[in-house]
Structure formats: structure tokens, C-alpha cells
Amino acid sequence: MIATPATEFATDGRRIGPVLMDLRNITLRFGGVVAIKDISFDIREGEIRAIIGPNGAGKSSMLNVISGFYVPQEGEIWFEGKKRPPMKPYEVARLGLARTFQNIALFDGMSVLDNIMTGRLNRMKAPLWSQAIWWGRAEREEVENREQVEKIIDFLEIQNIRKTPVGRLPYGLKKRVELARALAAEPRILLLDEPMAGMNVEEKEDMCRFILDLNDEFGTTIALIEHDMGVVMDLSDRVVVMDYGRKIGDGTPDEVRANPEVISAYLGVSQE
């Protein structure tokens, strides 16, 4: 493992823990196309880790590797000090990873509450017969899970749309519901794929506040992909910069901002 002190404190006093996930020399190919080329980085407990890069840099592929949707041809993924074998996405989900999608993937016909409840699926263990007659274990589980879900609804301030079918909601709120569903799984790592894409300024501000608050309040580890540079620099503790499938920068927002390669690739070369 990389030698880092077990615990250190971020500037604002938040606790940053040991390495939770370590990605080592990941290479992902689609036929002849190399989407990710020999990338290594780690995610530490309690931090907000951003992956940025221009379009087609391989950010979403990277997230899909983390979530287990793509299996890389080369490289290793270590999670909580153990090497993770190739897994199906649902197995990864059981390990404690939850994600949101760039293009919202909710059940349009179901209510907000039911959508969020689906995030608790991995925590419902009652046998079918019990669920069918809603008695005994199934009832207890439902109550417990509903309580957790209600806390999330309260946290994300969506009480007023609890019973509204998701299909009727505006885009910004759907994004919030997606976040709620991912949170409902009580993930070890929360993966956010462009959480602010397509939002107006006010919605972005709200989303930023929620991300910061949930990291602060619950200590949730967050890995996010984002286009909006301002957002990334404000939110994250550390940033990985990708370009054409390669890693060209890694460090705190300030370090990354000062990195000449990053500037030329992502921010554009200054002409002055």
C-alpha cells in the first residue's frame, strides 16, 4: 500500500481516512480503442475525489470500471485492502458502491419515495412469502428502511414531492432523487456521474451544498466526474485529470490548477 498516514485532517477539520479504494495500472480497451491507459490513483475514506477531463477523456469509462460495469483488461482494483476480483455490477453494489447516472436512470412511473426505496433493495432480506403478505420480517424491514429513506428525504429537502411520480418532476429535482436513491444504499463510496450536468445556477448551488453537507454530515466518500471546473475546484479535496485515456495530473485543486500539462489540455494554453 502507498505509505500515507492513517488519518489526516483536511483544511476545514474534516477527517480524511486511509485509502479505501486503490486503482493500480488500469488499462481498458474496446477492440483497438484504448479508453484508459495505465492509470493509477486512489480514493481515501471521507474525501471528495473528482475526475475531470475534456470530452472523450475516458472519465465515464473510469467510473464504470470502479462500479464494476466494465472489467479492465489490465490492472488491479483494491478495495479496503483486498484485491477485488472481476465482479458483476450488483456484486460491486453489495460491496458498498452506489452511483448516479449522467442520463437520469429512474423509474418514471414510480413515486419519489418508491424510487428511493429501491436503493435499499440490498438491505431487504425477508423471504418472498413474508413480503407477499407483508408480515413479520418484511414488515419490520420495511419500517426500518422507510425510516432511513425518510431521513434522506429530509436531508435533501424533497418532502414535498415524496409521493409525486418521478416522471412529473423537473430535471434538477430528478437529479436530486437519483442522489437520494444512491444515498439510500448507505454506500462506502458514492459515485456521481456529472451531478451538475444541465442544471441552472441555482440548482448547481443546491447540489453543491448537498454534496458538501452529506460528506460533512455522514462522512460519505465521494468520487465524482464533473465538467464544471468551478464546481470541481470548490468541492473536491483531490482531483485526477484525464486526457485521451491518460492521467495527466493528480493532486489538490491548487496543484492541479498550477500543472502546466493540465492547463494546456483542459483549460487551454494561455496566449499571454
Binding site: G13, R146, E147, E150, I153, F155, Q159, N160, E217
Partner: protein, 661 residues
């Protein structure tokens, strides 16, 4: 409190009433709040315990007799408890408007020299911190919602739950001190201080004594025979005197249940779930509900629309009579009962009015159509007239004598007189003690005999004996030819159209009247959708020629109706424009209770007013706006000005035919 005699004599403060309720109604529900999707409740005995813990916690923090404790947050049991706990310590609670910006807050906190501030959440804490040096007396902040507060410097800050825990631990040490302070509260000690919304100038702190609050609450509760079984929904700003009377004064004196909604956005759902039996709402809430019912009915199927139309026709004809117990034919009664099963019952249930026994509206005039809509459904909606300085009640309508254009008879214990100028004066047990540290204003409002000027012009209707308010006394003026000018009278008529949200009429000292109109985005937006009118922004919709045509239609109808009143026929509107932005309290154009600030608007839009009178067809303007987060921006627009037809009084009976005023 074994004997009734001693009990009544001892009930000279809200904490004393609380102790009475904890004994008399111990197991009845005192507070309910929806949290995590479930209604959590506290009985009177439990509430008394919570409040005591909090009061002890305040003592630990060093709350002194006579301190001012500011409370800023939405309607939550914890915030009501804070007010009572402060009173138990001998301190004075000062609830503030939670949407006040930091500047407004700075003035009030500085003015009352609040030493303790209870904040609902991080947002309010941030504002108090931003005020900083401008309120140097603030010693400690207590917040209810812990969210986002972990990183703050806690040397002068605590969570409310922690204060309670510390208080609980200090029972042995400070219990006797607390009891001594609570039992020392007298009838003439200050109960609460509320800041007026400040239509003119800086807000003033209205000092209300225990006598004011308790006497008024008792009188008004007996007027409507309120008892401990009532349910109310506490959703109006805590800083407003009405909420203090309904959710504290009357709730404690009658012992009924106060329900707090989950959040401001869920108020309508919560209203429906609770089904209050006693309900207060400003006219705009009733208007909003009616508008949404009508919009949804337009989208309903043919059969439903037909049923709704027929049932409502019947209800309009016989509903009010049935409600007031007047004779109605057996067949109509039967049909109304059927309508109740099919239409009125389900509709009332949807609106949350299934169990309503007494409903009040006040603050602004309510449209007669809207008023009779609710009454015809069998909802006992009435009007009252009041103000902060009177502990709300000046006049109210008794059951069975309700009219849309009057505000009722004097409330029990209130004396009324009308000055020669037409201004209404009152004297009552609820009359405020004074304006805080402002003897000049106190003296100019309340005379030596205790008569208070309301600032409103009105008269008693001869046939019903009820009071009718025309306008603010200072807004009533003369036009250049000496005819009477009462802007509010015309504005109210305009606002009765669902498409018009707000109107401001000018004309004092002028030859004719003009108006600014604010469209109602919900209603007009819906209308635009139906008529395939595309628009990208509020501004574009407001300036649309078809919208102008529609508004002109409304203005002309109002003119015809105004012309019927010989005293006020001069107030017809000759020219008008539709404003490119909504008038907003954040821009200082309205008070927090959404009353138009004429002075501010006249200054800010002087260019528009000039254009209304100089005959130009359109005018370019640039306006500063404040966004919700306090940032400022500018919007530019070219506004069209249109002429409206004015009806000469001689012709009015022809033109006005078929127009409901």
C-alpha cells in the same frame, strides 16, 4: 391549582396557562409536527416538560429577567417552546421574519438589544453572524437544526437539544430559581414583542403584555366558542401577531392542538392531512387554492366538468343559506346533500377543509366571488379586521352575518369610533402597551384615554351595523378636481381577477388615475398555454399584446364597476401598464406581509409614472432586482402603455350591466 378560583387568578402569564393545561389536559395533544413523513406529537404534559428543560437550559446560559430573546425560524414546536421558555425565565421573546435579509435583521436585533438568538437552521445562523457588530449585544446563538453546523465556532453557539439536555441536568441546581421567576410573572409584564412590518419607515417593536394577549385570546375564543378539541395549522410567519394569538394565545387559553407542517412547501399536503377545525389564511391562500381547483377542473373530463358546474350553481344558490341555517326548500336540501356526497365533500377533503368549523381571512380584501365560493361549499369562512397594536382583534364577523365587503362588528371588549376624517379608532384590553423605546410614536398612535388610530378610513354600514374599510387613511387623497381618490378600493377590484396578482393605482393630485399591473404567472401562464401563446420569460409574457388586451378588458370592467359608486367614480383608470417584474419584498417594494409600499414604488418607478401621464406609447426602463441569495442585478425592458376606456357616471348603468363587482 385545586380550586377554579385560584386557578383563574393565577393564570396571568402564558407559562401559568401551560401549567394549567399540563394538569387539566395532560394527555391531550398540544403539538404535532410532521417529521420523517410521520406526525410526531407531544401531549401538554410532555410539552411542559420540554419547555421546562429548555427554560432551565436558558438559565444555564445566563438568560436574565428582561432580556430579549430573538427567534428566527419556521413554525416548529421547538420555536414555540423557546418563546414560552424565555417567558418562564422572565425574558421577552421577539420572533422575527425568517425571510428577512441580514440588514433588516441587524436593525431589529440592534433595536431590541437581543442577547440570545434562536435560529432555525444554518441559513439563519449565517445571517445573524453576518449582522455581527451591528448587534453587539448578541451573546449566544442557539440553533434547532444541526445540519451543516459542525464546522462552526461553538464558543458562542449551541444546539437547542443540547441546551435542553444541559437544562435537564441543572434541574436540582436551578429549578427553584426558575420557579421563582415564573411565578413572579404578572398580568402587566411583557408577554411578547413583535415588530410591525413597516409599511412606512423602520419597523417598530410593539410591546404586548400578558393582559393584552390573554384577555384578547379569551374573548376571541369565546366569540367562536373555541375549545380544547380544535386543531390549527401553524404555517404563517411566527413574527406575525396573528400566529402568536392563534398558535400561542388562543392555543394556550383554550388548550387546543397546534400542528406544524413538515416544510413550507408541504403546507398544502399537511393541511389536508390535518384537516384543521379552526383555520386562518390571508386571502391569497384562498385565491391560490381556488385558482388551482379551477385550473384542474378545466383539465377534467366532460362529465366531471358538467357535474362540477351544476353542483356549484346549486351551491351558489342555496349553500350560504344552508350554512347560516336559513330556510331552504326540501328539494334543494336534498340536491345539496347529493352534491355534498359527489362534489363538495370530496372537494373540501382535497382542500383540507373537511372538518373546518371556523375559518378567518384578513389582511387584504377578499374577492366576493372567492369568498362566496368557500361559503357555498359549507365552509364557515369569515372576515376579521385587526392589527398588531390591537393584539389582532378589532372587528370580526359573527356566525350568520357574513358579508364579503365588510369586516364585522367590534370584537368582545373592543370599543370603536370613527373620527371626522373617516379614520377608525379603537380601544380594547388588547391595546398594546407601547412601541419599544419610542415614546413619540406611542404618543402619536395611542392617546391618553387609550384610543388608537388604525390608520384606516372606514364607516359603519347602516343596515348591518358592520364596519367597512375603504383604504389606508393616509392613502385616501383628492384628485386635482377634488374628487375622492382611494387607490386600494380600485386595486382590490383589479386583484379579484385571477390574472392580476398585484396592482398599484396612482392619481392623487392628478386629472385621472393610472395603474401598474402585475400579472399572475400561474393563471396567465396557464391561459397562454391554452391559447398557444409562446413565451420565454415572465417579462415576455407580461409584455405580450394579447395579455395586454386581456388586462385592458379587466381594467375596463373595473372602471364600469367603480363608476357605480358615486363617491369614488373618479378613481377609474385612464391608462395602465403591465410591469415587467413581480413586485417583491426582497426589492423593498412590498412588506414581508405583502402589502404594497407606495412610497418606494413611486420613487423607484418615477420614470414609468411620468410616462403614464405624459401620453407616450411606450417607455424604456431599467430596474435593480435582488435575487434570493441577496445578489443584485438589473433588468431592462421597454413597456407599452395603453389607454383604457373610462365610463362617465351618467352612462354607467348601461355599460356596467352583467358585471359582478
Amino acid at each position: 391549582m385545586q380550586q377554579m378560583q385560584t386557578a383563574e387568578a393565577g393564570l396571568q402569564s402564558i407559562p401559568a396557562l401551560l401549567a394549567r393545561n399540563a394538569t387539566a389536559f395532560g394527555t391531550r395533544t398540544a403539538y404535532r409536527e410532521k417529521e420523517f413523513g410521520i406526525w410526531q406529537s407531544w401531549s401538554w404534559a410532555e410539552a411542559a416538560r420540554e419547555i421546562r428543560d429548555l427554560a432551565l437550559g436558558f438559565l444555564v446560559l445566563g438568560v436574565e429577567r428582561g432580556d430579549h430573546v430573538a427567534i428566527i425560524g419556521r413554525n416548529r414546536p421547538a420555536h414555540y417552546w423557546s418563546m414560552i421558555a424565555a417567558q418562564m425565565c422572565g425574558a421577552v421573546p421577539v420572533p422575527l421574519y425568517q425571510d428577512a435579509v441580514a440588514d433588516e435583521m441587524a436593525y431589529v436585533l440592534g433595536n431590541c438589544a437581543a442577547r440570545f438568538v434562536i435560529c432555525g437552521d444554518q441559513e439563519q445562523v449565517d445571517k445573524v453572524l453576518e449582522v455581527g457588530d451591528r448587534a453587539p449585544e448578541v451573546r449566544h446563538i442557539i440553533y434547532t437544526d444541526k445540519r451543516g453546523m459542525r464546522k462552526y465556532d461553538h464558543s458562542r453557539m449551541n444546539a437547542l437539544a443540547d441546551v435542553q439536555a444541559e437544562g435537564r441536568a441543572a434541574e436540582q441546581r436551578l429549578g427553584a430559581e426558575l420557579d421563582a421567576r415564573t411565578s413572579g410573572l404578572g398580568y402587566d409584564d411583557t408577554c411578547v414583542m413583535l415588530y410591525t412590518s413597516g409599511t412606512t419607515g423602520k419597523p417598530k417593536g410593539v410591546v404586548l403584555s400578558n393582559r393584552n394577549i390573554i384577555e384578547t385570546s379569551k374573548n376571541s375564543a369565546s366569540f367562536d366558542s373555541l375549545n380544547e378539541r380544535e386543531e390549527v395549522l401553524a404555517y404563517l410567519p411566527m413574527a406575525w401577531v396573528g400566529d402568536f394569538i392563534f398558535s400561542v394565545g388562543q392555543a394556550y387559553s383554550a388548550g387546543f392542538t397546534v400542528n406544524c407542517p413538515e416544510s413550507a412547501q408541504t403546507m398544502m399536503t399537511d393541511l389536508r392531512e390535518i384537516g384543521p377545525s379552526y383555520f386562518f389564511a390571508p386571502p391569497r391562500v384562498f385565491e391560490g387554492q381556488l385558482t388551482s381547483v379551477m385550473i384542474r377542473m378545466e383539465d377534467a373530463g366532460r362529465l366531471k366538468r358538467w357535474m362540477f358546474r351544476h353542483a356549484m350553481e346549486l351551491a351558489r344558490r342555496v349553500g350560504p343559506a344552508i350554512l347560516e341555517g336559513r330556510p331552504v326548500g326540501a328539494l334543494d336540501r336534498l340536491r345539496y346533500a347529493l352534491g355534498n356526497v359527489l362534489i363538495f365533500g370530496p372537494l373540501k377533503n382535497t382542500l383540507g377543509y373537511s372538518r373546518i368549523r371556523v375559518g378567518y381571512t384578513a389582511g387584504e380584501a377578499i374577492g366576493p366571488e372567492i369568498f362566496s365560493f368557500y361559503r357555498s361549499l359549507g365552509i364557515n369562512l369569515k372576515q376579521l379586521y385587526g392589527q398588531t397594536e390591537a393584539s389582532v382583534f378589532i372587528t370580526q364577523q359573527p356566525d350568520g352575518a357574513v358579508k364579503p365587503d365588510t369586516v364585522g362588528v367590534p370584537s368582545p371588549g373592543v370599543e370603536l369610533k370613527i373620527a371626522e376624517s373617516g379614520e377608525v379608532f379603537y380601544r380594547s384590553p388588547g391595546t398594546f402597551v407601547e412601541y419599544f423605546q419610542n415614546p413619540e410614536s406611542t404618543a402619536s398612535t395611542k392617546d391618553a384615554e387609550g384610543w388608537v388610530a388604525t390608520g384606516d378610513a372606514g364607516f359603519f354600514e347602516e343596515d348591518s351595523g358592520q364596519l367597512r374599510i375603504i383604504d389606508r387613511a393616509k392613502d385616501v387623497g383628492r384628485m386635482s378636481d377634488g374628487r375622492m381618490f382611494a387607490p386600494k378600493y380600485v386595486e382590490n377590484k383589479l386583484k379579484f381577477y385571477p390574472n392580476i396578482l398585484e396592482a398599484v393605482v396612482f392619481g392623487a393630485g392628478r386629472d385621472f388615475c393610472t395603474a401598474f399591473i402585475n400579472i399572475d404567472l400561474t393563471a396567465v401562464g396557464n391561459w397562454a398555454e391554452r391559447n398557444n401563446i409562446a413565451y420565454a420569460s415572465y417579462q415576455e409574457l407580461a409584455g405580450h399584446p394579447q395579455v395586454y388586451a386581456m388586462i385592458r378588458q379587466h381594467v375596463q370592467e373595473v372602471n364600469a364597476s367603480v363608476a357605480q359608486d358615486p363617491m369614488l367614480s373618479g378613481c377609474q383608470i385612464g391608462r395602465f401598464l403591465v410591469l415587467h417584474k413581480e413586485l417583491d419584498p426582497d426589492d423593498g417594494e412590498m412588506t414581508r406581509t405583502r402589502k404594497v409600499r407606495r412610497g418606494v414604488i413611486a420613487d423607484k418607478y418615477a420614470d414609468l409614472i411620468a410616462a403614464l401621464y405624459d401620453g407616450s406609447r411606450n417607455v424604456f426602463t431599467e430596474t435593480e432586482v435582488t435575487y434570493e441569495d441577496g445578489r443584485k442585478g438589473r433588468i431592462r425592458a421597454t413597456l407599452t402603455i395603453e389607454d383604457a376606456q373610462v365610463v362617465s357616471p351618467a352612462l354607467h348603468h348601461v355599460k356596467a350591466k352583467g358585471i359582478a363587482a
